[in-house]
């Protein structure tokens, strides 16, 4: 994989995306505010999207970009349902803290 995607080697894009993805994972683990958790999830999805675009360019195919469109649609659908749940959470508990809703254990 030495060939360039617009001058940037594919490996560099992938390491960049892995970093993005891990930032998202850490965000989910340490943030307690639902909105920030959703942002972290979005970050993870977009990390995958970046790799798809770069790999598509690297292999000289349109597939990567088509996949990007699907990821966009997917993220939109997911956020729509997620925000519905967030509205429910804030109505019932008057907070966006995810731990407020958590009582099941074991």
């Amino acid at each position: 994989m030495m060939d360039a995607t617009g001058g940037i080697p594919l490996e560099h894009v992938i390491w960049f995306a892995i970093t993005l993805f891990l930032i998202g994972v850490v965000g989910i683990l340490i943030r307690r505010n639902v909105i920030f958790i959703l942002l972290s999830l979005e970050l993870m999805m977009n990390a995958a999207a970046v790799v798809f675009i770069a790999a598509g360019a690297f292999h000289d195919q349109a597939d990567g970009q088509v996949m990007f469109m699907f990821i966009l649609a997917l993220a939109a659908a997911e956020v729509a349902v997620a925000l519905g749940l967030v509205v429910q959470l804030s109505r019932r508990f008057k907070t966006l803290d995810i731990d407020a809703a958590s009582e099941m254990t074991g």
Binding site: L41, A47, V51, F52, D63, A77, V81
Partner: protein, 484 residues
């Protein structure tokens, strides 16, 4: 490509999508619970029937675009998922009528989830895998959190949503890396450009992400933490749907992935999956021992059951026909007994504010509610794998498959896990048969639709356990027709 044959083969998808639109428009015109429910039932039954029509045109299998490949095996799984959706809809009617404020949309979500699950058995491409998976998941987030008056579902819905999206991202990221390494998204062409899998860091890393996400969706250890909370918090009927259709769909698509892409030829990947399966069998059963809530207990037992099923996954890589046969028989059995168990919890909880799912709630149930309780007894025996039930046939199949593939460790763990399992399944039965003190009112309350549906599932568990030949013959014929 023969257009007419293609259209006929994809008839189930067309019928289901059309029915979904009809139900949606029906709700727009007039909100009536019974009408929405009837339209849903008609749609599902028509979808089931359309498999018979489409089967004529099927032949050895038809590839529709590059995304899906419809064949006898995918039809079998489709029929299984649609049947599960029909059971869910029948049992859900009374629950929806009693507990929910916005009733009609529940069925839309059910139909949408079913549609997604039908896409999975036929998927041969990352795009169709992703779309099928997400149509199921997104519908399920809403279904889990649907009841707004009680607290559990919202918590379960949030937990499920956040963790499920995270796992989808993980699957996506894995796909992206595999695509970067191989230059294709079709299952059959995923070999890395560089030649060997072991030498390609990004290919292996991609599989780490991909399988982590899949293991989450199948709730395999160590990605199982969400399972008990979601199982407990979600309405029982939705839990039954997650446990069967959602997990079954994911498993089927993974099977096709393993068969076509031949990933297990890479030693590292195969060993990782082997380890996950082994830990799941043990940990799932051990954690189930301490549970006093029926739904949490079933959650942990489902972790173990998915671990057992991995044996079939390994067999698919080497001998596809036996692997698929095992998986179909096992999943059919698992579907019947799991739906029966969650159906019983739904039925006995009618008329009470919270769900009666703890061991104390079912104390002496056999004397108060004989029909649902008898079904739960059969279902528990079947989950434990006692002979003369479907669960025994299913486990026997896995056992034989494991011996066929010479997976001695996994077979040993399967036996060990089943032995531990008998203990907690029997505890359910002992609780139900304990004779309660004081007055008995052994009157069956609640709706007869729910009770009879549950009873049918119980009888089916027994009947298939005593005389499985027709099912096995049917499955064998269809697997052979598909040309594996």
């Amino acid at each position: 490509m023969n257009t007419q044959a293609t259209l006929m083969a994809s008839l189930p998808y067309i019928v289901l999508a059309g029915g979904l639109l009809v139900v949606m428009l029906g709700i727009c015109i007039r909100r009536t619970h019974f009408v929405a429910w009837s339209l849903t039932m008609v749609t599902l039954i028509a979808t089931l029937a359309s498999h018979l029509l489409g089967y004529e045109a099927l032949g050895e299998g038809i590839t529709v675009t590059m995304l899906i490949h419809i064949d006898g095996v995918s039809y079998l799984f489709n029929a299984l998922f649609v049947l599960a959706a029909i059971c869910t809809a029948v049992i859900a009617y009374q629950y929806v009528d009693e507990k929910l404020r916005f009733r009609e949309e529940f069925y839309l979500l059910l139909l949408a989830a079913t549609f997604g699950s039908l896409t999975l058995p036929a998927a041969t491409h990352f795009v169709s895998l992703l779309l099928g998976l997400e149509i199921v998941s997104i519908s399920l987030y809403a279904m889990v959190a649907y009841p707004e008056k009680v607290r559990g579902p919202l918590e379960a819905g949030l937990k499920y949503m956040i963790l499920s999206v995270a796992s989808t991202s993980s699957i996506l990221f894995g796909m992206a890396l595999i695509y970067a390494a191989s230059g294709s998204m079709e299952f059959a062409q995923l070999t890395p450009v560089s030649g060997s899998a072991e030498g390609d860091v990004f290919y292996l890393l991609g599989h780490v992400f991909f399988w982590s996400g899949i293991a989450f969706k199948l709730s395999l250890v160590p990605f199982h933490i969400w399972t008990p909370d979601v199982y407990q918090g979600a309405p029982s009927i939705v839990t039954g749907f997650i446990a069967t259709v959602s997990k079954g769909g994911v498993f089927v698509v993974v099977m096709r992935y393993v068969m076509e892409s031949d990933v297990f030829s890479s030693e590292a990947i195969a060993q990782a999956i082997f380890l996950i399966a082994a830990i799941s069998m043990i940990v799932g059963n051990l954690l189930a021992l301490q549970q006093r809530n029926l739904k949490r207990l079933l959650a942990y037992s489902s972790i173990a059951h998915m671990g057992y099923l991995i044996i079939a996954l390994f067999l698919v890589a080497t001998q596809p026909s036996i692997g698929f046969e095992t998986a179909i028989v096992y999943l059919a059995g698992y579907f019947v007994m799991t739906l029966a168990a969650f159906g019983v919890i739904t039925v006995i909880s009618q008329g009470s504010d919270s769900e009666l799912a703890s061991i104390d709630d079912i104390q002496g149930l056999l004397w108060r509610r004989p029909i649902p309780a008898a079904t739960l007894v059969v279902s528990a025996l079947s989950l434990a794998g006692i002979p003369l039930t479907m669960g025994f046939i299913a486990k026997f199949y896995l056992f034989a498959a494991g011996i066929e593939g010479e997976m001695w460790t996994l077979v040993g763990l399967l036996v060990l896990g089943s032995a531990i399992g008998i203990f907690y399944y029997l505890r359910i039965i002992f609780a139900m048969t304990a004779k309660p003190e004081g007055e008995l009112d052994s009157v069956e309350r609640g709706s007869w639709t729910g009770i009879s549906a549950v009873a049918v599932l119980g009888v089916a568990t027994l009947a298939l356990g005593i005389y499985p030949t027709p099912l096995v013959d049917f499955v064998q014929t269809l697997v052979r027709v598909s040309g594996f």
